[in-house]
Symmetry: C3
Subunit: 135 residues, 3 copies
């Protein structure tokens, strides 16, 4: 069994931003030598997340970020003194990681799917862990 762990570096440029990291994840997967298995994309941060979403129309990401901001506004009543409780809550809703099957050394994403890093409290320098297990 091949077991590979790589770290991606991401520089976000806004407080809230969705960054397509599919190519980097595919590159790590391909370089691992795994032809069949699974890959996990994991955010080690508590104010960001990983999602799998449509890549075709960028407005889908605009609507996603906009609606998340409506669902979780920056309320004055939040107790956490850093003022980024909204980002922590969005992180819990979107999730810290995504798992994708690998077949023929390729991510088995659907036609319209891509893997996105979700920044909820940027701009910041972020890391994303990519773990590949398979044969």
């Amino acid at each position: 069994m091949i077991d590979r762990l790589e770290s991606l570096s991401i520089r976000t440029s806004a407080r809230e931003e969705i960054v397509n990291i599919t190519e980097q994840v595919q590159r790590v997967t391909g370089a691992s030598g795994v032809r069949s298995g699974m890959v996990w994309v994991y955010s080690p941060h508590t104010t960001s997340g990983i999602t799998i979403q449509e890549n075709a129309d960028p407005d889908v990401r605009v609507d996603l970020l906009g609606h998340l901001a409506e669902l979780v506004p920056r309320k004055a009543s939040f107790r956490h003194a850093e003022g980024n409780s909204d980002a922590h809550i969005k992180s819990a809703l979107v999730g810290a990681s995504q798992a994708v099957p690998i077949a023929d050394a390729r991510l088995l994403l659907g036609t319209w799917q891509a893997i996105f890093f979700c920044e909820f409290d940027g701009p910041r320098s972020r890391r994303v862990m990519v773990k590949v297990l398979g044969t």
Copy 2:
């Protein structure tokens, strides 16, 4: 290590619908020969999701779909021109996949748990990938 990938076909019959796919996932798991390991249930679509929920009372699913529609209504202000941004956002909230441990060749679901495909923009023909890794 056994590594098995199978695709399930699902035909949904409403715009929003929750379909129990536990038996199909158990069948793939059993046929794989894996007695101990993990299974991933993965939706390759961007307007659907996979959730693990109670199977006993169908009203739980009614309440889940109804409340998701309240949290993410079909707003006229969404920019994505296809008019299904609500479905994309619900997909991000529910998630594209679920992972379940396997023990004694069975899904290690809790007593009340089942695995559900969540249709948010049907009716459509959908696929679900089932990946089994173990021994």
Copy 3:
């Protein structure tokens, strides 16, 4: 490949509560002998979830539980007769499991991350499954 499954017992003390289980998960991981691989933390219940969140300031968890209660209130209009539809819906939003990479026999959590069991319909006795795969 090492494949280990352990069950944790948790006693929650309120209807809604977030319990740090990082140490127990690290203990199972360490005892498994796995130095590199993945661990899954899985809740077999339908009114609880697993999240990865900040551990430093307890107010982050207060804000998370408080805002989830705003997003999913205990509505009289819910049809599920047990009166805990809010807990089922929160469970679907937070998710039944989390996956964390293992490196050097340690959970590869970020500096501020911890693994939390989310009780949404307690107080109850709960179980959490910990599955470790690796070498």
